[in-house]
């Protein structure tokens, strides 16, 4: 009897869901229209962005050098401080090659360390997070050493950093890879003697579409609620309760919240000023570094032959 009731209630629940959805569609008709409009606007936006990109040569800089854009919180902003900070960043970039890298790239970082043997310390790992603006910019590397997960956080402009080398330049499906902490260890294991993989010039940064497998629970975070694209087997480990909670906690309207997006970003006009101030120096640095790297690539085959 109890079973029958349960079944019936679930059926009713499902039916009700279906009905309500239908009803909403019929009653409002707004979403359908809105969707149509959106499609057109998206296309337009793309065009606009492309047009802007063609006009504005340093539009892509915001992905390559994200730390040059200040924190958008208006309470902390000051044009002079930002200018001084940028000048300091450029001075540091003149001293050391800070290459282009993204979350998901594999880096090797050498740091001066008074306590280690030989006074330097090298760490290789996958970049799982990149955050902070200006001189506070930082990134986190993760690796598994002797079956033990290790994460090291580095300041990007720390003068104790001797070299930063990109071993494999690629992007992943997500903006933060914290789920590697709960994934199988092979996804974050990288040998310390890895060779750098050189990309042919002019190729776009490749996107690695690998989907990692999570270990069974307990987890460090509720990964199911974060809409992760780079996780393969998340549904296996979920209970019915978790799915219901995920539905309840979902905030699907946030991607339409234009004000929220605006508050998170620096407006185009201000970005133009910033890149105009910085771009020429950054380009110069990039060109000189390119020449240096070419020289290095010519030297490597000789050693291999030998």
């Amino acid at each position: 009897m109890a079973l029958a009731i349960r079944r019936s209630t679930t059926d009713i629940f499902c039916a009700a869901k279906w009905f309500t959805r239908r009803d909403c569609r019929v009653l409002s008709t707004l979403p359908e229209k809105a969707e149509e409009v959106e499609v057109s606007t998206v296309v337009k936006k793309d065009k606009v962005i492309r047009a802007r990109g063609s006009r504005n040569p340093h539009f892509e800089n915001r992905f390559v050098y994200p730390e040059f854009l200040p924190d958008p919180n208006p309470n902390w902003r000051n044009s002079l401080r930002e200018k001084l900070e940028r000048a300091d960043m450029l001075k540091r970039r003149n001293q050391i090659d800070i290459p282009e890298f993204y979350v998901g790239s594999i880096l090797a970082v050498t740091v001066a360390d008074p306590h280690s043997q030989g006074k330097t310390n090298k760490f290789v790992g996958i970049c799982i997070e990149r955050k902070g603006c200006g001189l506070r910019a930082e990134f986190t590397l993760r690796n598994v050493v002797d079956h033990q997960g290790v994460e090291v956080r580095y300041d990007l402009y720390d003068p104790t950093i001797q070299t930063i080398q990109v071993l494999r330049l690629e992007k992943r499906l997500d903006e933060k890879l914290f789920y590697l902490r709960d994934a199988l260890p092979e996804y974050s294991t990288f040998p310390f003697d890895m060779d750098p993989e050189l990309l042919p010039e002019g190729t776009p940064v490749p996107l690695n579409p690998v989907q990692v497998k999570l270990k069974p629970r307990p987890w460090l975070e509720r990964w199911e609620r974060q809409e992760l694209k780079g996780v393969a087997n998340i549904e296996e480990h979920l209970r019915e309760k978790d799915r219901v909670r995920r539905e309840l906690r979902a905030t699907p309207w946030e991607k339409y919240d234009l004000m929220k997006q605006y508050r998170k970003t620096i407006p185009m006009e201000e970005q133009n000023d910033i890149w105009a101030e910085v771009n020429s120096q950054l380009q110069q640095l990039h060109m000189t570094r390119k020449k240096m790297s070419r020289k290095r690539t010519f030297s490597t085959p000789k050693t291999q032959l030998g």
């Binding site: 309470n75 002079l80 001075k91 001066a112 360390d113 003068p159």
Partner: protein
Amino acid sequence: MATCNMNILLNTLKKLRIDHTIMRSFQKPRFRPPYWYIPKERAQTEEFLTQDNKHFLDEVVQDRKLNQALVQSPLASVETNQTAQWNPHTRRVGLIARKIGNYPLWTKDGKKVQTTLLQVVDNHVVKYVPPEEFNPMKKSSEIVTSNIKRKLGCILVGSETVDPSTVTKDYCGIFNNVGILPKKHLFRFMVSPESYLPPGTPLSATHFRVGDHIDIRAKTMDRGFQGVMKRWGFKGMPASHGVTKTHRRPGNIGAGGQKARVWPGTKMPGHMGNRWRILRGVKILRINTKHNVIWTLGVAIPGETGAMCYLFDTILPEKKHNTQPPFPTQPLAEDVPLEYFDDSVHAFDQQSISFEES
């Protein structure tokens, strides 16, 4: 006729009675603004100016700003004939600065330190009041006694030039005899008479040196009416285990028995922040001479970004000046380095830090 009038007068005087008297108890004198204070804000009214006239007024202001920049510091002529001697007891003038943010610097041993940036925006000496005439209106007994021992004068310093048409005429009058444009912020510094500065002297960030310690006075962030946990750091009460409605409350505020009352000074909820506070002994790590910016160690300088700060030589005995600082102030010079760094600070255009094997 005259007697008649006198009679009327006497009658009226008889009718006069004193039936309502006000007895005033002694009250402490309230704070009154100093005598040179003149209201600054002006009611903004529609002037009905034509566009041309507006442009003309703007041009005039721009010209006057340029002239102000070109005027030579009066210190240049004074210093040649008169050299005042500095001793550890003299008090120099301070600076008015604006807090413009924080960012990290690194020391030469590779340690990251947080710094606060203070910008000194066109500070000028507006007025000097010698000790004989200087008579501050609000004084507590301590100041009176110390003044008898060591008389101090007062230097009025202004910062941040404003458009003269936005302030009152009387307020502009303070600056007109000096020959500078009116300033947004005024502050008086108590100084010993040796460190006299002629009105019109520009002050810059090089008034202090790198490695010096300063006291910074500013208003703390206004946090409004706050409970006891945020204001005094009380622990509150547990979240569960049968606790109802008393998670963030102070609990007991006094004992019973003989002293059945709340003792004065008990920590209770109330308004938090927006108070004048002085942070003493803050070290200067770096100075930019072009933009007049001072990097100070630490992030505890009161106020939010954009707050006004007042900088003085520190009074902490351990951190006072050992050698003579720029006295009475550093004269403006053309060929100064762009930036001064403290010995402990790593400049970003130096090579990366590496440690040698010992």
